[in-house]
Symmetry: none
Subunit: 197 residues, 4 copies
DNA sequence: GCCTAAGCGAGACGGTACGTCTCGTCTTATC
DNA sequence: GATAAGACGAGACGTACCGTCTCGCTTAGGC
């Protein structure tokens, strides 16, 4: 077919290197001092990328933080499909609980939290945090329903709330994070309550 | 001069009036603009109480905000015991979901969230938001277990996570808050999964 | 009499110390690097006074610079009155020329220059630079006219222009500054042209 | 081979068109907003010439501005020689005063002023603003001396200072610019003070 | 009629100052 | 002795401009 319309724009190309440096610096700083002490000035200083460039790519510090940490979660908790929907969901719950129980969990909590008081916070969280795994999870659930492993009378969004809500809740309610035993117990109960009778 | 006849100490007494004015101003501001745009300067301006006094009574803006809003959730979602544990838990889930879907709920969410990045945040949250209802809820669950209405093989804390986690989850994941129908569906499923077979 | 209306306001008083530190730091920086490389950030850094305080007292860097250097000129070239108007004017011309020929002269030139492109530049210059010496100089001229030493048919402002204009001109026209001999020659001619015949 | 026969080098020739566009845009912007609000970015935007090209031809914004405006003053205040030195000098004073009182005069003042804080500022000013008229003015003065119209005991440079200093002074001291009456009065006095007795 | 070079517009980049904002502390006079 | 008033040091915010640096395109000689 004909030539590609262009592919290449005029002018100096955007530096992928800078983008990566900013995200890496932001993720490191989040791990070191948490979101509430994260500043754009320091991201710029540490990454060697100028503030102007940061503000050209992202709308502000929160945007950078979510982008930086979103990758981390997506990497740490990939969706795996083996064909057995119940087993796959259980596996995902356990891996997510383990990640949230790690020091990273506290940062996640802060990011989820800060989103509620941010102009485009909820959208950003959706896009960067939940969306990457959400569609795979939905597919998993739909397959389970089709297989006859999962009840078909519960809306898919509600299934997600039931499975992952308790894990997120632990980030905020002041109780210690779920240990492995509790996570298994939790997974057992929620998956069972959604399994076809 | 001469000694004060009563237990009155020398000097101007601490003003309970000031304390009330600060809490009222802070609560109003939270309702108007949310936690992220709350400033101590503005609380001082609106309440007519000086910043120095505020910092004498509280450790900072977060402390004031939690103190000011703490009662709201406790008042709005009291624990009711009718004797029927399952019905009481269901009722509480619905009332909590309704509250979190209201404008006040959004403020509470921001306070829960911000707590994760505050020095004494988790303790404050425990004290002001969760503790007041926690013991009553635990009692409710224990009674349900004793009655034979609830399964006895699930730790009480896990029951709490399962019941309330999905509601809190919705505050942060960018999906619209639970409407009444979804809340009922949610309550039906979670309570059923915890009911004795 | 009666009681002073107040004199003292409530609240922490303005820190005269800070004001002095800012002016001293600004004057030093002007001497070191000139006006075009003067920054408010560095004034704040060197003086130990915060930027917010600087912007509370002055409208910006230009304002600070003029205030800081205005004092210097006024101190360096005081108006002296001995009773002999012609001699006093001559003396003032010579002292002003000497000051403008020193390294300070270059800074003065930059400040005069920058004023033309500044919102309230001309007013600031009037107030801080010229006004302190202007009234004394006017008085000198008026006295000279009354004494019969100076021509009475030349408006006082024009006298000022004629006496001081040539000195200021040398700051901008790229020629070397007036040496002492040239300054004396200049003073001789201008004063003579304004002396009563 | 070796030497190119003509001045023509290989490759695309420098665009005279671009050079003109930059100067035109800069002159327009100077008229519209003055030197202090002139930016290289805007010159590039308005002229359609890239910043890289501008920095290839000139050292910076000041250089462009001086180049763009240099001709104006030379055109506006040409040196005229009728043979009567005193009349010619008077005429030149009046025309210069009128020009400095016009809107263009304010821009010139800013450029003169800004030059004191620029790396090659003084040289540029000499070249573009003063040199073109300086030699003609000197010639005028020398002729006046030879004719016996002007005193011979005053160095020529000092004559220039005396004649033009007061006019330039008015640009910077915050007083309103010289109106025609004041300019005539000024010219009368200065020329008289330099005329042979 | 290619080939090679230089000049060009576009525009992203690191750097750095701007003027504003909020925090938590402090120093007064007042009650 | 606790307040209100409010100035202060610290330091982050998001914007603006600077001068430099790639890019892909254009315009010419040289072959």
């Amino acid at each position: 077919m004909t030539t590609a319309p262009s592919g290449r724009r005029r002018g100096r190309p955007v530096s992928e290197e800078s983008r990566q440096a900013v995200l890496a610096a932001a993720a490191d700083l989040l791990d070191e001092k948490g979101y509430s002490r994260l500043t754009v000035d320091e991201i710029a200083r540490r990454s060697g990328v100028s503030k102007a460039t940061i503000y050209k790519h992202w709308t502000g510090g929160y945007d950078v933080a979510v982008a930086a940490y979103g990758l981390r979660v997506t990497d740490a908790v990939p969706t795996i499909q083996t064909g057995d929907a119940l087993a796959d969901l259980t596996s995902q719950i356990l891996r997510l609980a383990a990640f949230y129980a790690s020091p990273h969990g506290k940062v996640i909590a802060q990011l989820l939290a800060a989103g509620t008081g941010q102009p485009r916070g909820p959208e950003l969280l959706q896009e960067r945090f939940f969306a990457p795994r959400r569609s795979a999870t939905i597919e998993l659930i739909e397959r389970g329903k089709a297989d006859g492993q999962l009840r078909q009378d519960v809306p898919t969004q509600l299934v997600i709330d039931l499975l992952f809500g308790p894990i997120v809740f632990r980030l905020f309610n002041g109780e210690p994070p779920l240990d492995e035993g509790a996570a298994k117990e939790l997974a057992r109960i929620t998956v069972a309550s959604l399994a076809a009778s």
